[in-house]
């Protein structure tokens, strides 16, 4: 990995950092790193196979991977067109729309869960007619988990893809049009491949955010093992209840996934954008 800062080549070296900056800086670093180190150190590695084999953990892991992936697919299907729209320079009210898209980034996830409830709950604006028509309601179902995760993760994808679209040279699309390509062909064979690195980076970020989702999920979908209890929820329950060791182990697992995502983003995609 490249260093963020390089020492000045000549002229007396970088010099010593003054103590009033160095001390809090080291403290901050310790504050960030120590808990993670503690997690790794205190993880019950010996019992790990047995704990992971336990019904609840495996179930939560599978559900997490499934729902995070499903949420990512939802985000890709809806987010790429939205990003495309936002990237058009002639879109009226673009900055307002863009601000709206970023709301879930700063919104407390619990609020997101409550908001989803008011719209898609059994008595919600859309939820009630949906329930009356089909007998189906999103809350407390796996589909509800996917929805909650997609809600908080969508901005990550949209912003990444929008950035890539804006950086891309739109004249390639013109070239494709002169060759007789329909708008759909231009989008599929030119626009999308041109922004593929941005889409990939966005999808990874989106997936990671969905995997770690807690607040909106527990509010909107509840915490039912097997159907809505994802890893973060299982961690929470394990820590509160029977098995803190399992909580630590699951946390290490999630930490591993996060580090892997960071590594992927750094080396595979971010540098290429």
């Amino acid at each position: 990995m490249r260093p963020l800062l390089r020492a000045r080549p000549t002229g007396g070296g970088p010099g010593r950092a003054p103590a009033f900056l160095a001390v809090p800086a080291v403290l901050a670093l310790a504050f960030l790193v120590l808990p993670l180190a503690g997690l790794v150190l205190r993880a019950p590695w010996r019992e790990a196979p047995e704990l992971l084999a336990g019904a609840g953990v495996g179930q939560a892991l599978r559900l997490s991977l499934l729902t995070a992936s499903a949420a990512t697919v939802v985000c890709l299907l809806l987010g790429i067109p939205l990003a495309w729209l936002l990237a058009r320079p002639d879109l009226p009210g673009r900055s307002a729309l863009r601000a709206l898209v970023t709301v879930p980034l700063v919104l407390p996830p619990v609020v997101g869960g409550v908001a989803l409830f008011t719209v898609l709950g059994r008595t919600g604006l859309i939820g009630r007619p949906l329930y009356e028509l089909t007998g189906f309601a999103f809350p407390f179902t796996t589909a509800g988990v996917v929805l909650a995760e997609a809600f908080v993760a969508l901005p990550f994808l949209v912003l990444a893809v929008e950035g890539a679209l804006r950086a891309a040279d739109r004249r390639y699309e013109e070239a494709a049009a002169t060759l007789g390509a329909s708008q759909w062909t231009v989008f599929r064979r030119v626009t999308l491949p041109l922004v593929a690195p941005g889409v990939a980076a966005g999808a990874v970020l989106c997936w990671a955010r969905a995997l770690g989702e807690f607040g909106a999920t527990i509010t909107f979908a509840g915490n039912f093992p097997g159907s809505t209890q994802t890893m973060p929820l299982a961690v929470y329950q394990a820590l509160e209840g029977a098995d803190p060791r399992a909580a630590v182990l699951l946390s290490v697992l999630l930490l591993g996934v996060s580090v892997a995502v960071l590594g992927l983003l750094r080396d595979q995609w971010v540098n290429r954008l």
Binding site: T178, L179, G180
Partner: protein, 345 residues
């Protein structure tokens, strides 16, 4: 006419109004300075930009309101715009495939085109690994493989280095000659226009100022800009037989006779320079003063202020040294009457 267009585009402080007719197999060059509106005209023809008034008819079909994809135009862009994520072959196959040709057939067509433009061995290469000349050939193959009725070339040689430009230009000439549809070439390089086009339309400030074959335009320029482009001295005046009263003073004697307002053009190399008033036959003799002198090919091009008229003169380096010419030197110029081309303005 394969192409019949009137292109009117208004922008704040600028407008373009150009009529254009191009026959089948004909190559028309839009020649003009940057900002004259050439590229805008090309984009309108391609359907990449709307026009404010006028029409575009290609092969009898009015395409004014049709999108680019349904116009059957091929465009070769200045910086080639080959799709960076596709190989040369897939770039060329893109047009046929977009028009519904099965992938295998489209690739076979693409391969033929790559061979024809001489880059068959680079079929699998990505555009970024191609040289400028190779990329421009692939871009030509891509435009032609879609079988357009109108081929548009936007400064196709401008991004190439001098040597590559030479070979690509002569190959382009060959491909344009065998292309059956109409072709419109945009360039600011008079030599490209002379070599590649059957007819030149000179565009200045959004309007046509002159049109004709390369020979006509280069022999009889009608604006100062064109004269400078083709390297001629251009004077304007009123002719009475073999005599022309030059606007702004002075007079010319010409071998051809004309009447009324005329242009008079002569080559810088046809002007002789003397340190003193020459004796003998030359009839057109003017005193003047050198304003600038700079190398021009294997000669030296000096600009002389001859009683208010700027005249370009090409001298040998030896003559410049012998006469000790430099800015400010007083000289006498003469031009033979037979060297002056006179034509009505």
């Amino acid at each position: 006419m394969t192409v019949d267009a009137r292109i009117v585009v208004h922008r704040s402080g600028w407008s373009l109004d150009l009529e254009l007719a191009v026959g089948a197999g004909e190559v028309v060059a839009l020649l003009g300075p940057n900002g004259a509106g050439k590229t805008t005209a090309l984009r309108v023809l391609a359907g990449l930009q709307p026009l404010d008034a006028g029409h575009v008819v290609i092969a009898g079909e009015t395409v004014t309101d049709l999108p680019s994809a349904r116009r059957s135009v091929g465009v070769v862009f200045q910086d080639h715009l080959l799709f960076p994520h596709l190989s040369a072959l897939e770039n060329v196959a893109f047009g046929p495939r977009a028009r519904g040709v099965p992938a295998a057939v489209a690739r076979r067509t693409a391969r033929e085109w790559l061979d024809r433009v001489g880059v068959g061995e680079h079929a699998a290469a990505r555009p970024r690994t191609l040289s400028g000349g190779q990329a421009q050939r692939v871009a030509l193959a891509r435009a032609l493989a879609a079988e357009p009725r109108l081929l548009l070339l936007d400064e196709p040689l401008a991004a190439l280095d001098a040597r590559t430009r030479l070979t690509v230009r002569s190959d382009l000439r060959r491909h344009l000659a065998s292309f059956g549809g109409a072709a419109v070439l945009v360039t600011h390089d008079p030599f490209d226009a002379m070599v590649l086009a059957d007819r030149i339309v000179v565009v200045e400030d959004g309007a046509e100022v002159q049109t004709g074959t390369p020979a006509e335009v280069s022999r009889r320029p009608r604006t100062e800009y064109v004269a400078r482009l083709v390297g001629l001295n251009l004077l304007r005046g009123v002719a009475t037989g073999h005599h022309v009263d030059v606007d702004g003073g002075g007079e010319l004697v010409t071998a051809d006779s004309a009447f009324g307002p005329v242009y008079a053009a002569f080559r810088p190399a046809a002007v002789s320079v003397y340190p003193e008033r020459p004796a003998g036959s030359p009839r057109n003799v003017w005193p003047g003063r050198v304003t600038t002198a700079e190398p021009h090919g294997d000669a030296v091009r000096i600009q002389v202020d001859a009683a208010g008229l700027p005249v370009l003169v090409d001298c040998t380096t030896a003559a410049v040294a012998e006469l000790g010419l430099g800015p400010g030197s007083p000289v006498w110029l003469s031009v033979k009457a037979s060297e002056i081309e006179v034509y009505p303005s």
